[in-house]
């Protein structure tokens, strides 16, 4: 059963790597300390201050352009007219 052994080995390695990756969430020392994040916490640094407006604008664009995705949610409907 070499394939089963290989699978278990891979699963073990993946588990160790995964837990290591996730555990590093708190073990890695952040190079930007929490008390240095006042500028990043300013509302002007938010990616999206107004979700309702962003969804509306995305819907307009997706109704008139061939591209879509990777820029927030666009809501439903076809924009056929």
């Amino acid at each position: 059963m070499p394939s089963l052994k290989r699978s278990i080995r891979w699963a073990g390695a993946a588990l160790i790597a995964g837990t290591g990756f996730v555990s590093s969430a708190c073990t890695i020392q952040p190079w930007v300390k929490p008390y240095e994040r006042d500028r990043l916490a300013d509302p002007i640094m938010a990616w999206d201050r107004d979700a309702i407006s962003s969804a509306y604008v995305d819907h307009i664009r997706e109704s008139r352009e061939g591209s879509r995705g990777a820029s927030g949610s666009a809501g439903g409907g076809c924009g056929c007219n």
């Binding site: 002007i44 879509r68 820029s71």
Partner: protein
């Protein structure tokens, strides 16, 4: 032997994971403030007027659990140029309802939402689930999202007042997102958004037609026929973005998006945004966006004869085009000391001007044989659109 080894690995993983949970419990994520928004918008351009009205309410029931509800109505009058070229003006209305629940556990935010959109001739239901995880001392945020959309597509052959809708088919769409946001310095944050969408079913726009050279129709030189789209589509998009806090209190944001799909559309988007607050009362914003795409591989403005190819489309969305947007936004903060249940409030005015240029889509509504233009010689189509938005947000 292998079983023992695997057990050991699982056991060790469980210990590490449990330890991790205990450590992480000291720095849990928080949900945004409760808010209520009232929104009004107007789009004018290309022969269409669309007004939008919306209400959004978001409420936390515990520190870990929040619910959001949104209701949106679009009212359309007029019609775009390719619809006008074959039909009369249209009045239509779209009503969209959505509900979202959000749950935070430690550094993880789980979100589930449902959107229902109804028009007289189009129905759409979307269910989505996303998971957001803060990690590496909260410097990194990873989000994974999946959504499934089911559409029912129809065509109204009647009038605005006496509709006669023929239901033409269904379409199903699945969307997969991976977003990563990374704090790089105390002034700079960067993001990568990756999205894949697969569609299957009736994907054409029933209100638009292809045109082909037709010697039997000398008055125009061409005739119109039904579009034939492929019934599958897969698209991939990646967006890179960065936001920088300037030496004085202001922020500049830049983004680039690359898109391609199995219809051979390749699109690129560049966007630059500058945000400048004035004390704690005003936030002013200016933005510029440029977008460019080539045409789909089954698109043509004018086919040589009827049924020249198996798939044929002349939808203006599929044409080669570019457009640029110049926009400005002003947010005014009021009720700094609160009022009744509200802690603060803002009102926002937003205006955008979009200029669309089509590179292989011609204006057949206003130019033709009668004006001395043979099929294929009409001027390329272009138009300007203006988008106004005004909304009030109350935080409580």
């Amino acid at each position: 032997m292998m079983r023992v080894s695997a057990k050991r690995v699982v056991g060790r993983g469980a210990v590490i994971f449990t330890a991790l949970l205990l450590v992480r419990a000291t720095c849990a994520d928080v949900l945004p403030d409760d808010r209520a928004d009232i929104f009004y918008s107007k789009y004018s351009g290309g022969g269409m007027d669309i007004t939008g009205e919306s209400v959004l309410v978001r409420k936390k029931f515990t520190e870990n659990f929040a619910v959001e509800a949104n209701y949106f109505i679009d009212k359309v009058s007029g019609a775009s140029i390719d619809v006008l070229s074959q039909a009369s003006q249209i009045k239509d209305e779209r009503k969209q309802k959505s509900g979202t629940v959000e749950y935070v556990h430690d550094k993880t935010t789980y979100t589930a939402s449902f959107i229902n959109s109804v028009e007289r001739d189009y129905r759409s239901d979307t269910g989505s689930f996303s998971l957001k995880q803060d990690m590496f001392g909260d410097l990194t945020t990873l989000s994974l999202a999946f959504s499934n959309t089911n559409d029912t597509v129809g065509e109204n052959n009647g009038t605005a007042f006496v509709p006669m809708v023929a239901w033409l088919g269904h379409a199903e769409s699945r969307s997969y997102d991976v977003d990563l946001s990374q704090i790089l310095t105390k002034n700079f944050i960067a993001g990568v958004n990756f999205n894949v969408i697969t569609d299957q079913g009736y994907l054409a726009n029933p209100y638009r037609s292809v045109r082909f050279l037709d010697p039997l129709n000398p008055a125009k030189g061409y005739s119109l026929a039904t579009q034939m789209y492929p019934d599958t589509r897969t698209s991939t998009a990646i967006q890179l973005e960065g936001k920088y806090y300037l030496p004085y209190r202001a922020a500049v944001t830049g983004s680039y998006r690359y898109f391609r799909d199995t219809w051979a559309i390749v699109g690129t988007t560049y966007e630059l945004d500058y945000t400048h607050p004035i004390s704690n009362i005003w936030i002013l914003e200016g933005r510029f966006r440029y977008y460019k795409q080539n045409h789909a591989n089954f698109y043509s403005d004018l086919f040589a004869y009827a049924n020249e190819y198996r798939f044929e489309g002349r939808d203006q969305d599929l044409a080669a085009q570019d457009n640029y947007t110049i926009g400005a936004k002003a947010t005014y903060a009021f009720l700094p000391n609160g009022w009744k249940i509200f802690k603060r409030a803002t009102v926002t005015f937003d205006v955008s001007r979009i200029t669309f240029h089509y590179l292989d889509f011609r204006d057949i509504k206003y130019y033709g044989v009668a004006n001395g233009y043979q099929p294929g010689d009409e001027p390329l189509y272009q138009f300007n659109a203006t988008v106004y938005q005004i909304y009030m947000s109350m935080f409580f």
